[in-house]
């Protein structure tokens, strides 16, 4: 792998940058791999990287229908945080945040992880109790999160309107280590690092079937580039998980919803942190480029159309204009949609399946980006060892049968 550094940039500039090599190969699939990952989003690429790096499994293919990082990885609003309520979730997301903190160095790729803080606004007493419950639980779990008064909220994020609004802000929960990262760089960084360890990333290759042997175990995948053999297949296909799992005859507790996001035209720095309000349904941060990056919850009905409805955008922006009324004159530059797979308890599934050799990592809903390195890391462990890492052990499919749900949504009513 060509090293990336300021020195290398300088050195190669003198040669007109002609000596840079491709960041990853563009290989044709081999006949057989030890592991096939379906889906070259951040989660799938991370799983491949950690399979190679931590488990020594390098005969790995990541198969992608489109182009790597082109799904939700490249469409999300890049929020990273770990202040989840339940022990299971806190452990999972904190694992990810710890990896985020060293990711640029590990991958030798600047993923621009920026711990600018994630501030969740409380607008009523119910929010306050809920957030304080999070703050206390997080502290005991070793996850930073603190309660701010309304005045402290204003001090931390001066552009916010906290008083003259329909639902005045009475406080907030701040995770200072939370923040944002550069979404494309995460996919590219993992792709480059995985590729350099021998992983084949096969783009523009659609999985059309999952072949199972007489005993039911996985034998490989049918693709638009032919059959590829592997005894282990990990599905990391986000919104398309139901479709892929149906190929193996597995029905999933998932529904795929559109999730919209939008950005404003770029402006000079005007918003210092990530702010989320679940009560009025919107969140906002400013990208390095200067765009206000804005999102909300999912649209109302299941869809694979990758677009959302105008009335959802209007509600998102009326909320943003309440929180930051001086942004009313900013202008929307781009609006797009992704497809997110949602479980009944809004927590992911990272698990073995009833089919031997078939593993699934899905159900991240609106909040998958933040978990990318942690998710890939424990998924790799699950595939390599054929048993879950202790962090993802609770995130099974069976929890829906037995009722051991991890219902962050019910507990906090907070998306993302």
């Amino acid at each position: 792998m060509q090293k990336f550094s300021g020195f290398e940039l300088f050195r190669r500039a003198l040669g007109g940058h002609k000596s840079w090599q491709p960041q990853w190969r563009n290989p044709e699939p081999k006949a057989e791999y030890d592991v096939i990952i379906v889906g070259a989003g951040g989660h799938g690429l991370a799983a491949a990287y950690y399979l190679a790096k931590e488990h020594g499994i390098t005969r790995v293919a990541v198969i992608e229908r489109g182009w790597l990082g082109g799904g939700n990885t490249g469409r999300n609003t890049t929020i990273v945080r770990s202040n989840y309520l339940f022990d299971e979730s806190a452990a999972l997301y904190e694992h990810a945040v710890k990896l985020w903190e060293g990711l640029s160095t590990d991958l030798n790729y600047n993923v621009m992880y920026s711990a600018r803080g994630v501030l969740m606004l409380a607008h009523n007493h119910h929010d306050e109790i809920s957030f304080k419950r999070h703050v206390h639980a997080n502290r005991l779990n070793g996850v930073d999160n603190e309660w701010l008064s309304a005045e402290q909220v204003k001090e931390f994020c001066p552009p916010l309107n906290i008083r003259s609004m329909r639902y005045p802000i009475i406080g907030g929960a701040l995770q200072r280590r939370g923040g944002t990262a550069r979404h494309d760089a995460v996919a590219w960084g993992f792709a480059r690092a995985a590729d350099s360890r021998g992983v084949d990333i096969i783009q523009n290759c659609e999985v059309t079937g999952i072949r199972r042997g007489p005993g039911g175990a996985v034998e490989g995948v049918e693709t638009s580039k032919g059959f590829i053999r592997a005894k282990k297949v990990g599905v990391s296909a986000a919104g398309h998980t139901s479709v892929v799992m149906a190929m193996a005859g597995v029905r999933m507790p998932l529904e795929s919803y559109p999730l919209q996001a939008l950005v404003s035209e770029p402006v000079k720095p005007a918003f210092p942190t990530v702010v989320m309000s679940n009560t009025i349904h919107a969140y906002i941060s400013q990208s390095d480029k200067g765009e206000m990056v804005i999102g909300a919850g999912t649209d109302a009905y299941t869809s694979y159309s990758q677009r959302g409805a105008l009335h959802v955008t209007t509600h998102t922006l009326d909320a943003i204009c309440e929180l930051v009324p001086q942004f009313r004159r900013l202008r929307m530059l781009r609006n797009w949609g992704g497809i997110v797979d949602v479980t009944p308890d809004r927590s992911p599934i990272i698990a073995k399946t009833p089919v031997p050799g078939l593993y699934v990592n899905c159900g991240w809903g609106t909040g998958g980006f933040k978990a990318t390195p942690g998710s890939g890391n424990v998924f790799a462990h699950t595939i390599a060892r054929d048993e879950p890492h202790k962090i993802n052990a609770p995130f099974t499919l069976e929890r829906f049968r037995d009722g051991f749900l991890i219902d962050e949504a019910a507990a906090a009513a907070v998306a993302h």
Binding site: S242, V243, P253, E255, F400
Partner: protein, 96 residues
Amino acid sequence: MLIIDCPWCGARPEIEFRYGGEAHIARPADPAAMSDQEWADFLYNRTNPKGLHAERWRHIHGCGRYFNAVRDTVSDFFVTTYKAGEPRPDIGESGK
């Protein structure tokens, strides 16, 4: 905003409706007789197809009725709508 053809009121704008999830998942007559897995299938497992999807809608800000629709989840266009209790029209299998 989609236009949805309410079987009672005719074509009306989407914001008058509420989505109600996959259709034709009848509540079992005797839940106590079911295994945990069967009950979980009823409660949680969904087809979630990419393609034609039979689903429930309620014209909540109109006539208030629940009804069923077949919609293509790729284009979001409706193929048909029909009253609750009527069988799923024979319009091919749901998507790939």
